[in-house]
């Protein structure tokens, strides 16, 4: 038995309404590459953030090379030897590569002067040691770096003296295949030096290629701990998925003939050649990994982001939506994923949040009486059973589920023909979730066309009439409800072709 450099013992972590990690135990040995895989929200990021000291665990213990670091601060975790290579490194644009690598830890001389000569020497040695000296100029400014070079900076930061465990979070998302090969060379070198390596990735081929062991997470629990040599991509996907469907909820298909939204060949900064259509009474589910471009697509359709090419047809008319105001006039509603930043105004009242999008419609000559607002949104708020003492309550004082209901109430009151829902049950507790599902179902039954982006498989499978999968800005052909399985969707989202 190898000695373990990282020991995770019965770790648990909860956020309001969610148990992000439950009783998780695992170990990483010296010279071992352990891959963590799982769907969005399976708990990988939460685990990394606990290890890096960004989050504090609720239960359990983390032991790093014999030292307990369960409640370490980010700095203490670093100093103890845990280093996280982040997916999107923070690079300071106007200082050099050398300074970027040692930012916060400059070697110093008397009177607090930075020892630039010593800094350059250390960085040069570090780059040479790990074979990146030819890839990057240590005097180049941060802003001039390519994504791959930024990654090198981030990796070098991690490999400064004292390192015991390095965790790579989606390290290859911005790399070309040559660069991936170099990264793998590096990882093998680190392995040979006896470091523990944690490798978090959605790309199963890479996981198969580089890891010794795979740990599969699902809904915050471990569902598999497999030797890579003895397993297959198919088996891993099976362990990642296979969740119970939402109990007691069954949606009847209510799709009508009328096409509400037709998108043909749409392109934008994030998208290439996107085509799909949604009929009245239909719920079209959008699956995909975080960052695949689903939220951006919603915002392009809603006029918040620019469409570069392609045609959008609404109710048979070619539409030219350039702003959210245009979209609302065209009878589109959009409940964004990021409620607090984009949906709510925490210091304003429930009634204002709910009525905001229909002010112009409610008013006569620009005059808007509280009474008119109450008539328009009061019944909706009551129908959604929003738990609030009064309509004039500040929305910031409500719970997450009730806040989400208020955002939904806005669009119910507006009565759009097309409703775009981005992660409609994010950070909503279980009870409120079921109510929101029933609501979405009823809206579709009443003839609304619904575009639903969700990273929660059970939700997608239970609610959607058809599902499309987005990956790197492209959209798959729609999967009919009958054929939609988690395996098929995950395979399309990962692009692994494993189970398709």
């Amino acid at each position: 038995m190898k000695n373990n450099v990282l020991d995770i013992r019965a770790v648990g972590k909860s956020f309001p309404g969610v148990r992000a990690l439950q009783n998780l135990s695992m170990a990483v040995g010296a010279g071992e590459v352990v891959a963590f895989v799982g769907e969005n929200g399976a708990g990988k990021s939460t685990l990394l953030k606990i290890l890096s000291g960004d989050y504090h665990l609720d239960q359990g213990q983390v032991v790093l090379d014999g030292v307990e670091v369960s409640h370490a601060s980010p700095l203490a975790a670093r100093n103890a030897g845990f280093r996280l290579v982040r997916q999107e490194p923070e690079i300071v644009p106007d200082i050099s590569v050398a300074e970027n690598i040692f930012v916060g830890e400059y070697p110093s001389r008397s009177f607090g002067r930075v020892d630039f000569a010593g800094l350059r020497a250390e960085v040069t040695a570090l780059l040479k040691r790990y074979g990146f000296a030819d890839l990057i100029d240590i005097d180049a400014m941060g802003r001039s770096l390519s994504p791959a070079q930024m990654h090198v900076v981030e990796i070098m930061r991690a490999l400064k003296p004292g390192v015991k465990v390095v965790a790579f979070d989606e390290p290859t998302s911005s790399l070309t295949s040559d660069e991936v090969a170099r990264l793998f060379d590096l990882i093998r070198k680190l392995k040979a030096e006896g470091l523990g390596i944690v490798y978090v990735s959605h790309r199963l081929q890479e996981v198969m290629a580089i890891s010794d062991r795979v740990i599969v997470l699902k809904d915050g629990q471990q569902t598999g701990d497999l030797m890579t040599a003895d397993t297959t991509e198919d088996e891993i996907v099976r362990l990642m998925v296979g969740r119970e469907l939402i109990h007691g909820f069954k949606r009847q298909e209510t799709t009508r003939d009328e096409v509400v939204l037709k998108v043909e060949g749409l392109s934008s900064r994030w998208h290439r050649d996107i085509s799909f259509q949604i009929r009245a009474g239909e719920i079209l589910g959008f699956a995909g990994l975080v960052g695949a471009g689903r939220t951006e697509l919603a915002k392009v359709i809603f006029g918040e982001f620019r469409r570069i090419g392609g045609k959008v047809t609404l109710l048979g008319h070619v539409s030219d939506i350039r702003s959210p105001a245009d979209a609302i006039r065209a009878n589109i509603g959009f409940a964004p994923e990021n409620r607090k930043d984009e949906g709510l105004i925490l210091v304003r009242s429930v009634i204002e949040i709910a009525a905001m999008a229909i002010y112009a419609r409610l008013a006569r000559w620009g005059v808007l009486r509280t009474g008119q607002m109450v008539e328009a949104v009061g019944p909706v708020i009551r129908q959604l059973e929003v738990k609030t003492p009064s309509l004039s309550q500040e929305v910031g004082k409500l719970s997450g589920g009730n806040q989400q209901k208020v955002v939904l109430a806005r669009w119910l009151a507006a009565g759009p023909r097309l409703l775009i829902l981005d992660e409609p049950t994010r950070a909503v507790d279980v009870g409120a979730k079921a109510e929101i599902y029933r609501l979405i179902d009823r809206l579709a039954s009443d003839g609304m066309a619904i575009m639903m982006i969700s990273s929660e498989m059970p939700e997608l499978l239970a609610l959607s009439d058809r599902i499309v999968v987005m990956r790197d800005g492209s959209l798959s052909a729609p999967i009919e409800k009958l054929h939609a399985t988690e395996e098929a969707i995950v395979a399309l989202a990962l692009g692994s072709g494993a189970a398709a």
Partner: protein, 350 residues
């Protein structure tokens, strides 16, 4: 429909007192209490405070700052700031004096002053919207530029004398004068009229409601269909127009178009009033009622300090401290509210 319908649960009918509290706003009660204390403190030192002539003066002094503060309320609630209001008033003062002396038309002068204010306000909004300069920096820049323009349009940079007696009424006229009662200053009546319109706009129009939305969360307001740029054009134009009107009143009171004197430092007083009136630095909160109470409080404070013979220099220090205090109270309130929310979330309550 009354405000009582906001309650989802059935409660007993509201008492007259709680209705009044709702109109004034709970947070404004502290202002009223502060005002009462201030009045007691000053009147314990001098009897002159309540003399009808002094009350008349307070009313007249309130008008200029008050008009600007109404516009500033819109600006600050929308999460902006307008530091150029004093300079706009200076420009308007000179412009209206030139029109009145040139054409002899009082309405022309009044309209001209308001119009130049609105135009300069639009300039502010254009800079903020399309050059993407933040509001503080943009209006700091125009504060200097507009003041310069005021001196440039005044012949030789000197005040422009206005001898029209009808025009002077705008500044020092009064009505309802009876016996020893000195009457109500016309300028004060204008302020009351503007404040009532302002109250109505902020509470009962799409425009006013949208100001609250955009101030509280611009991203959310955009996604709810509010055109932020267009809103800003109107908000700063209104702030400018009201500053212009304030400039006209300064002209009428001093019988001369003043490029600088009488309009300097108005931005500080107006901004202080708005924050003291309950507006938040982060935007999205603030009311005309609160602002007006704060303007009254500031006017009484300033008057009281004069009556007690406190030197101007100390008054300047006091004004500065008051602005810090006003904003700090708002920030502290926000922090308390966040703490309460955090506790609520932690306990998992609905």
């Amino acid at each position: 429909m009354t405000a009582g319908d906001l309650n989802l649960t059935n409660r007993s009918p509201e008492s007259a007192l709680s209705r009044l509290t709702r109109f004034v706003g709970a947070e404004n009660l502290s202002l009223i209490i502060a005002l009462i204390f201030l009045v007691l403190a000053v009147s314990s030192q001098t009897e002159f405070l309540f003399s009808s002539r002094n009350l008349f003066n307070i009313g007249q002094n309130m008008a200029v700052v008050g008009l600007i503060a109404v516009g500033m309320t819109l600006v600050i609630v929308s999460n902006g700031l307008d530091i150029s209001v004093g300079s706009i008033a200076g420009c308007a003062s000179v412009v209206c004096a030139l029109i009145v002396t040139g054409s002899g038309s009082v309405p022309g002068g009044l309209a001209g002053g308001i119009a130049i204010g609105a135009v300069l306000g639009l300039v502010n909004a254009l800079i903020i919207n399309y050059l993407r300069v933040n509001a503080v920096v943009a209006t700091l820049a125009t504060m200097s530029a507009f003041r310069g323009i005021a001196f440039l349009i005044a012949p030789e940079g000197r005040p422009v004398g206005v001898l029209d007696p009808t025009f002077a009424l705008l500044g020092s006229g009064r009505f309802l004068q009876m016996g020893s009662f000195p009457g109500v200053p016309i300028a004060f009546a204008i302020l009351v009229g503007v404040a009532i319109v302002g109250y109505f706009v902020m509470s009962s129009t799409v425009f006013g409601r949208s100001i609250y939305s955009m101030g509280g969360n611009p991203a959310a307001a955009r996604l709810a269909g509010i055109n932020l740029n267009r809103m800003r054009l109107w908000i700063y134009a209104i702030s400018g127009a009201l500053s212009g009107l304030a400039g006209v009143i300064v002209t009428a009171r001093t019988s001369s178009g003043q490029p600088a004197s009488g309009t300097q430092g108005l931005e500080l007083e107006a901004i202080t009033a708005v924050f003291l009136g309950g507006a938040l630095l982060a935007g999205g909160k603030g009311t005309i009622v609160g602002t007006m109470l704060a303007v009254l409080l500031l006017a009484v404070l300033s008057n009281g300090m004069n009556l007690l013979g406190i030197p101007t220099f100390y008054q300047l220090v006091a004004k500065g401290l008051l602005l810090v205090l006003a904003v700090a109270i708002g920030q502290w309130r926000m922090a308390m509210a966040e703490k309460r929310q955090a506790k609520l979330t932690a306990s998992g309550a609905h």
